[in-house]
């Protein structure tokens, strides 16, 4: 597998210890550790600037995101694993921009004393990509302890995982998550909405519209019998969780299904404790009925 100590982990604000998606970050680290992979958090990392800062000051935005790459480089990190798709795009875009834009590269040399030659060996990978293509399904299958019998899982990618950099999967009809989750025994629910936008930050300014979008997304899974929905993005998770509570009060209890990170389902299947993975007692009860223990050979 070519695994070595040069794998860095970049949590980003949302998946950090104080972030809204801290359980996504924690469960990611837990499963990677459980699978025997040594990942070290990039020391003194900072915000990736997300997509918004670039709109205000492009150069500074690249320098901000790029600082993380420089820090990683100093520790000889070759691969950075990122759970948040927005961070992943920010870092990838910065890396790409340094390669193409001579002016920006000059600035990097000026500020950080680091140019494209130094940074070119770094690869930024979303955790879905990393688990599927670097860790590999064989390795996961070897370590699966619990199989979910007949748990119907709606697989929701959101818009950003394969866009705009569709380096590891089809941008319109990805299947990576389904393949990863197939090791856990769940039945994945297909929806044409799986790569639709969750509304993103529009939730802050136009809740009504976002609710319409999410209602459609959730219906597409629940109509097909989904008993929970998994995501691989902090913002998707947040929006679905928020909308679920509103929709539940407004219409029906049918929206009352667990919204989980895919790493939580995978972690449970690997035999990790629900509290270590940040799965709430309530959610755990709903899905644990579907767990059977697989006898280890």
């Amino acid at each position: 597998m070519g695994m070595n100590n040069s794998i860095g982990y970049y949590p980003g604000c949302s998946c950090s210890k104080n972030g809204l998606a801290k359980y996504y970050g924690e469960s990611t680290v837990k499963i990677l550790e459980h699978l025997g992979l040594k990942v070290s958090e990039i020391e003194d990392w900072n915000c990736c600037g997300s997509s918004l800062y670039r709109v205000i000051d492009e150069k500074k935005a690249y320098l901000l995101a790029g600082r993380n790459l420089v820090l990683a480089k100093k520790k000889s990190v070759e691969k950075i694993v990122v759970p948040c798709p927005a961070c992943c795009i920010s870092l990838t875009k910065t890396l790409q921009k340094i390669r193409e834009d001579k002016e920006l590269e000059k600035k990097f040399v000026e500020v950080y004393n680091t140019g494209k030659e130094d940074l070119s060996r770094i690869v930024v990978k979303h955790v879905v990509d990393f688990i599927l293509n670097d860790v590999g399904l064989d390795k996961i299958e070897e370590n699966v302890k619990n199989k979910f019998e007949d748990l119907k899982v709606g697989v929701y990618y959101g818009c950003q995982i394969t866009r705009p950099y569709a380096s590891f999967d089809d941008p319109e009809f990805p299947s990576s998550l389904e393949r990863i989750l197939s090791t856990t025994g769940v039945a994945t629910i297909e929806s044409a909405m799986k790569t639709k936008c969750c509304g993103g930050l529009l939730m802050l300014t136009n809740e009504e519209e976002v609710l319409k979008i999410i209602e459609k997304i959730m219906n597409s899974y629940i109509d097909r019998g989904a008993q929970c929905i998994v995501t691989a993005c902090p913002l998707c998770h947040l929006n679905l969780e928020l909308a679920k509570n509103i929709l539940m009060k407004k219409y029906d209890v049918r929206y009352d299904i667990p919204i989980l990170y895919f790493t939580q389902i995978l972690g449970l299947s690997l035999g990790l404790e629900s509290r270590d993975l940040g799965v709430s007692r309530e959610d755990f009860e709903k899905i644990s009925r579907k767990i059977v223990l697989t006898a280890r050979r």
Binding site: D170, E172, F173, A192, M193, S220, D223, R224
Partner: protein
């Protein structure tokens, strides 16, 4: 005798004279070595212009002529002929391009004039090393090979055969008929496709000049224009064609069902089959891959029941070698595979069809005998037809597939006719209905109540009950909408045959960036190729409908006949030559020749150049490790090229020196 050179400078009206000072050029050239006469004239290519040259050749006893005018591709032949009529070997003439290379590329008179001077000076230096060359005459084999038994191949075969020449028609599937045989009706006249095609298929089978080789493929091609040797492999049908009477008892008795290719998998055929009822030849074929005897060693039911004892499980592939003078490629097209467009769900959603699939559904001989029903047996009441699937789309093919708008509207018309209470939507980018009666057909379909929505479908979503939600942008209303339909038809574009590249290699032709075969000239040689004896017809050259394919087939047949009507073929002598006694037989030239013209002779341990095949590209000459000692390119010998370079560089030399001293 010293060389005596005449130089002729053309004004080309104002094309040259406006930017190149022809008088100044003339003054300069006059003083060059060996030049005995210099003239300029407004149109050198005109009759009086040519007369000037002819008279001078006689009067001044010229040994060489230089014409400084346009590109040699334009008028080299004209001036060669003029020299030839005046008794001068045409290859002692050299053209200098002072139009495309001088006057047309700059407005700077001084620079253009200087460059013209240097180019002529180069020619003056070079031309004294020219040698008289003779054109070669090569006999032509009086027969044609046509590859592809679709409507284009059929049409070309009939035309050539009816003019009395022998034709080999090779088709890789068990029957001729091609794509047209799969169609229900043809736009815009709504003729029944089979009714107009099958008589032609029968004619092919009965024409004594046509040798029909179905279930056969071209394995190897060698030779040159006028003299090709082609190796064809006839795949075993496991049924003796001479004995089979086409009764079909074998198929009735055969226990194996196989998805039917002709019906695009919408139906089943037997392991022993004919592709469709009107197949030509009406000879059955055993599908080795599925036949129980071949897969499990049992059954042989067909053999038992065949009344004419035609079944022969021992049959082997048969190799046939033929000699032909010309080749016409009419290999047609493949359908774009829409399953790569994930958002349309083709292959995942059972009620999303391609246009050709619907064509089969609507056909009287199709899987539902022409009844318009879905896979689940329901009659669709709302239908969405999506245009430009895989065409005019940067992600897949940027070209327009040309036929889809029309066939999409034809399908709408046929569906409306058979399901009068249906609602049919056509989602289009632009309607392309440029053809005789096409725009009128568009109008007619609109009047029949088909709803046209200008905008692309962004995605299709399958509901639990199998109905489809189609999301699109109506660009005329400026809104994004979603409608629910029972059926979606994708008007898929057309793409080159998957084996097109292989044929390009075998026949030494070119393909364009999109993969279709490339014509020699888009306007003036539309069915010719870079290989003089190979022509192309139909959709293998690019998207085309039936009338266009038929017209091209006739054009290709006529081009082929022009060659076949001559007994010999004239070949340019500007080709490579080998001094066989000095050749070491290393065969590097054999490996680099793109035309297969350098041939190794093991007896002599030396290569030779097959004159008729050599295109004079010079690759072998450049690659030969012994260089000019062994290989020579007529018209481009080392001596000629070096002299030409000197002609440019020597006049420049003093000026370079001056510049160096002034800056230094």
């Amino acid at each position: 005798m010293d060389p005596r050179i005449g130089v002729y400078i053309c004004h080309c009206g104002l094309n040259i004279a406006q930017t190149v000072d022809v008088k100044k050029v003339g003054e300069y050239v006059k003083n060059l070595k060996n030049v005995v006469v210099v003239r300029d004239y407004p149109y050198m290519c005109s009759d009086p212009g040519q007369e000037l040259i002819k008279n001078d050749i006689k009067e001044y006893s010229l040994t060489n002529v230089i014409v400084a005018a346009c590109s040699p591709t334009m008028h080299e032949q004209t001036f060669r002929r003029a020299c030839s009529t005046a008794g001068l070997n045409p290859y002692l003439m050299q053209m200098v391009n002072i139009r495309e290379h001088c006057s047309w590329v700059t407005d700077d008179v001084e620079k253009a004039t200087e460059k013209a001077k240097l180019l002529i000076s180069a020619a003056v230096n070079r031309v004294v090393y020219h040698e008289p060359l003779e054109k070669l005459q090569i006999p032509i084999e009086q027969s044609a090979l046509i590859i592809g038994g679709g409507i284009a191949g059929i049409e070309a075969a009939l035309k050539i055969a009816n003019s009395g020449k022998k034709v080999y028609l090779v088709e890789k599937s068990p029957s001729i008929g091609g794509r047209m045989a799969q169609l229900e009706k043809t736009f815009p006249t709504l003729d029944c496709a089979s009714c107009i095609l099958t008589p032609k298929m029968v004619e092919v089978a009965s024409n004594p000049n046509i040798i029909l080789l179905t279930y056969s493929e071209v394995k190897e091609v060698s030779g040159f224009p006028g003299n090709y040797t082609v190796k064809i492999v006839k795949k075993p049908r496991y049924i003796d064609e001479n004995k089979c009477i086409g009764c079909g008892i074998c198929a009735t008795k055969c226990p194996v069902k196989v998805p039917d290719e002709f019906n695009l998998g919408l139906d089943y055929r037997k392991a022993v089959y004919i592709p469709f009822p009107q197949a030509v030849p009406r000879k059955y074929t055993i599908d080795r891959e599925h036949c129980l005897f071949f897969t499990k060693g049992v059954c042989r039911v067909c053999e038992r029941f065949c009344p004419s004892k035609a079944v022969n499980f021992e049959q082997q592939p048969e190799e046939i070698v033929i000699k032909v003078g010309v080749v016409i490629l009419a290999t047609g097209y493949d359908i774009f595979d829409p399953s790569v467009i994930k958002s349309y769900g083709y292959g995942r959603y059972k009620n999303v069809y391609t246009g050709l699939e619907v064509e089969r559904i609507l056909s009287a001989s199709g899987p539902t005998k022409g009844k318009p029903v879905l896979r689940d047996g329901r009659v669709p009441k709302t239908i969405a037809i999506v245009h430009c699937v895989g065409s005019r789309d940067e992600r897949y093919n940027s070209y327009c597939s040309k036929i889809c708008c029309m066939y999409a509207m034809k399908l709408a018309h046929l569906l409306k006719e058979r399901i009068p209470d249906s609602t049919i939507y056509e989602f289009y980018i632009d309607i392309r209905a440029a053809g005789k009666g096409y725009e009128e057909f568009y109008r007619r379909v609109q009047e029949e109540g088909v709803i046209f929505i200008r905008g692309k479908v962004s995605e299709i979503y399958e509901k639990e009950d199998g109905k489809l939600l189609v999301t699109f942008e109506d660009t005329l209303l400026g809104v994004v909408q979603t409608i629910e339909v029972d059926m979606v038809i994708l008007a898929t574009g057309i793409v080159p045959r998957s084996d097109a590249k292989d044929l390009v290699r075998k026949f030494g032709i070119c393909s364009s960036a999109d993969g279709f075969f490339m014509e020699k000239h888009p306007k003036l040689a539309p069915v010719s190729t870079v290989n003089r004896g190979v022509f192309i017809a139909g959709a293998c050259q690019g998207p085309k409908d039936i009338p266009e394919s038929v017209a091209q087939a006739a054009a290709a047949a006529s081009e082929a006949m022009v060659l076949l009507s001559q007994s010999t073929l004239e070949v340019e002598p500007i080709i490579a030559e080998v001094q066989q006694e000095k050749c070491s037989g290393c065969r590097i030239c054999v490996s680099v020749c793109p035309y297969g013209a350098t041939i190794y002779d093991s007896e002599k341990n030396a290569t030779r150049v097959e004159k008729a095949l050599c295109q004079g590209c010079g690759t072998c000459v450049a690659a030969c490790p012994s260089g000019a000692r062994v290989m020579k390119q007529n018209g481009f010998t080392d001596r000629q090229i070096l002299a030409e370079l000197e002609g440019i560089l020597i006049p420049l030399k003093p000026r370079i020196k001056i510049e160096v001293t002034s800056t230094g």
